[in-house]
Symmetry: C2
Subunit: 353 residues, 2 copies
Amino acid sequence: MAPTLALVGATGAVGTVMIDIVNARESVPWGDIRLIASPRSAGKKIVVRGEERTVQALGPEAFDGVDVAMFDVPDEVSAQWAPIAAERGAVAVDNSGAFRMDPDVPLVVPEVNAGAIADRPRGIIANPNCTTLSMMAALGALHREFGLRELVVASYQAASGAGQAGVDRLYAELAAVGGKNVGVRAGDVREALAAAGLTDDSPFPAPLALNVVPWAGSLKQDGWASEELKVRNESRKILGIPDLRVSATCVRVPVVTTHALAVHATFEREVTVDGAHKVFAAQPSIVLQDDPAAGVFPTPADVVGNDPTYVGRVRQAVDFPNTLDFFVCGDNLRKGAALNTYEIAEVVAREFA
Amino acid sequence: MAPTLALVGATGAVGTVMIDIVNARESVPWGDIRLIASPRSAGKKIVVRGEERTVQALGPEAFDGVDVAMFDVPDEVSAQWAPIAAERGAVAVDNSGAFRMDPDVPLVVPEVNAGAIADRPRGIIANPNCTTLSMMAALGALHREFGLRELVVASYQAASGAGQAGVDRLYAELAAVGGKNVGVRAGDVREALAAAGLTDDSPFPAPLALNVVPWAGSLKQDGWASEELKVRNESRKILGIPDLRVSATCVRVPVVTTHALAVHATFEREVTVDGAHKVFAAQPSIVLQDDPAAGVFPTPADVVGNDPTYVGRVRQAVDFPNTLDFFVCGDNLRKGAALNTYEIAEVVAREFA
């Protein structure tokens, strides 16, 4: 019998993209599809694959009969409810940070480590952080061929990584500064925001319009931001390289959606630009855009809304052996969140075939 | 007798900042100050240190009696005229790319390698590229203490690095997209620019508003951009480390002025965050802003218009021995161009004392 899918957090930003993805699929392996959200959103009607469905309130009985439950809710909600869903017999695929580093929970990017899905003692599978995910298809493909050893990463992260509040704030800030010759002396961006009433409640710790902000997440040990340590720890777990050396600097930029990363990756074996191009071209989830003579390289504004990971600017490091520098862009709401979660769910669905 | 200073390119963007800097100095070591520009700007009157001066047309006789000539003009103009100034007895301090890698021309950041100024067989001293300069005070100070070996850099470069045309373009693009819910699907930024008539003539190879563009300069060998190779080659020359290993990825961001860089630097000797903080605090041209718990780190919008190099987010790399990750911001028009050029000129002026 075709399995039943539940979307928990169906009315949120990523949940909405999840429904878009389910609707856009040519065919789906699901029998019933159930929408679950907070009691506040319960009763809302949403059309999924041509059928109007009523959003149910989150509660233990909402998971009865569910085979696969995708969660996109805050960490603490996942921490409470994913185990309940699992207890009731569903496989929980969770996009929060609650379970990613749990040794009994696989952390999965299907084109990299789909095999890890089978070993899930808690009945929970975790979806990685969006920054890590934006480069994982590219790094997984290179690792299989050349053996990854070291990673130095600088991110160019979009406002929507901080949720709808981040997007709203960026637009409001741009309206306050745009085309007004602001940004030419220290503090004048802050003054323009203040004049527009944008003084507090920002999800960002500094102005984002006409600026970049070297901070994402919360403060962890020794000055590291949580997002930077996630890139390290999640990359190690997904790629199965427990001693992978990683340094990441995470920086927010005034882009709406799509994270970009400058990657400096060192391998066990010799690597060439041609060899890397072949690896990328062979990976269906990667689009290679690498012809700078013709102005061809990926940029967030040209990638947003698309499923694949876009790779360009592939260069052999001049001074570092076995090392490539490249630039990668991925939509943080799609492959970085909703799409990868759904791809995991589709792999699980095969168990019911 | 107090030496005579000439400003060549006095009416340009960087030339204007040069005049601001000369005017803001408490005292200057100069006798006469002469303004030189293209014949088109000749005759223009500009007040320098309380005295109105008439811009002279560039020509051999303009350098007669000049002791130090600062050049901020295109590469080909410098290539032609800096040697003529030197021939006529002036020391030429050049901010173009024409002479930077000439083995007979020192490439100088005064707080790093002022000693190199004495050895100038061609009578020309070069000022580094703005991206290199934005991190050089910080790296020079760390190198003296710990011995720099490797550098992996990703840049967040401002629009004014491409001149006034870059600034004008960024403002025009922001006016075309700002606060209009653009940036949510691939190509809609390009559509908004087209609708506003911003279809071509951009100094950037892709839209910069709501975007980041992984390209700066011209295409060099093996997919490298000229700006990326400048960072490598100029860092080696300034720091006096001919075998320094460098990889740079240069990315333009929608910021008006002030370049930022994420730096991953590996040293010969053990390095700690405390040790690095002490080094930065002891360098007068560096401002340390590193207290993320209090939201304190440098951002371009808070640094623009200031002379120092601002450093923050200093972290010991978790997996790389003797390695620091940090974030640095520097005004690309001041320390990155006009200020450093002027500081070199002031060092030369001491020879006349």
